[in-house]
């Protein structure tokens, strides 16, 4: 357990944990309420929240996809239907 370097709230780790749950859509309603009111007064957690959100966004939208070998689907199907 460590103090939040900005607002001095007693449990920074807890904030980070909830922050991750929120961004993964896994937080409970209560956790969401807590966090939303928390980031209004804690700049550090607010900044963390935005960085984490941005990273997820980058992974979701910017990751290069491998082009799938065009024959793959047919090869698979060929092995099924003989």
């Amino acid at each position: 357990m460590s103090d939040c370097p900005d607002c001095g709230c007693s449990d920074f780790d807890k904030c980070l944990r909830i922050l991750n749950l929120m961004l993964d859509n896994e937080a409970t309603h209560k956790q969401e309420e807590f966090f939303n009111s928390h980031i209004e007064k804690c700049m550090v957690c607010f900044a963390h929240y935005n960085v984490e959100k941005q990273i997820r966004q980058l992974i979701k939208t910017k990751l290069n996809n491998k082009s799938v070998p065009s024959a793959l689907a047919n090869e698979i199907r060929g092995k099924i239907v003989r």
């Binding site: 993964d24 997820r56 980058l58 992974i59 290069n64 793959l72 199907r77 099924i80 239907v81």
Partner: protein, 196 residues
């Protein structure tokens, strides 16, 4: 979420029905399965083999699959297990890159001309993509996997727990660790991109 992952129920599809289920529910996921396989193995041939094995297994056990449930989660589970059981055993260095081969390729006189074109056409998106890919690929496979399942494929923690056969608490902590590592690698970069 798919019940079939918890309690496999045996049913008996006709041969025609099997093909129909296979085409309708499994085949649409080939592309994302291939990309997942590639991100586990970093090798095109291995990725291809892994996807083929996965689909062969899925077909063999198609009677355990209930139509209309989460086919994608089921396929991911099969692929992940094949990777652990078959692929990892075969290869002692799953992430090896033959640098000499890469070097030879780029220095070679008879490099196909389209390779040069590809390089020229590399867009900003590709470069950003490379940066993100490198960060993701540098994570240990267990961490990489949870990030792929969560961020790219949008599986819930519960689905991930079933796919990976680990408790939900482990999913949570593994993701948390993975996120910390990604933030170390991409945090500054994410900041420079601005908040959207």
């Amino acid at each position: 979420m798919a019940n079939q992952i918890d309690t496999p129920v045996k049913r008996s599809y006709s041969e025609t029905k099997k093909i129909q289920v296979f085409d309708g529910e499994f085949m649409p996921h080939v592309d994302s399965m291939y990309n997942f396989a590639y991100r586990l193995t970093f090798d095109e041939d291995d990725a291809k083999d892994l996807v083929q094995d996965t689909y062969m297994k899925a077909f063999r056990f198609i009677n355990s699959f209930q139509e209309g449930t989460n086919a994608k989660a089921w396929l991911y589970r099969i692929l992940k297990n094949s990777f652990i059981n078959d692929y990892r055993k075969k290869s002692k260095q799953p992430a090896k890159v033959d640098y000499q081969e890469v070097e030879q390729f780029y220095n070679s006189e008879d490099t196909p001309s389209n390779a040069t074109v590809d390089l020229r056409m590399e867009t900003t998106k590709d470069m950003i993509g490379d940066e993100i890919s490198n960060a993701l690929n540098s994570l240990a496979v267990d961490f990489r996997t949870v990030v792929i399942l969560c961020d790219l494929e949008g599986f819930t923690y519960e689905e991930m727990a079933k796919i990976l056969d680990i408790p939900i608490g482990t999913v949570r902590s593994r993701l948390h660790r993975a996120r910390n590592l990604l933030r170390e690698k991409l945090g500054t970069y994410a900041l420079s991109m601005g908040y959207n």
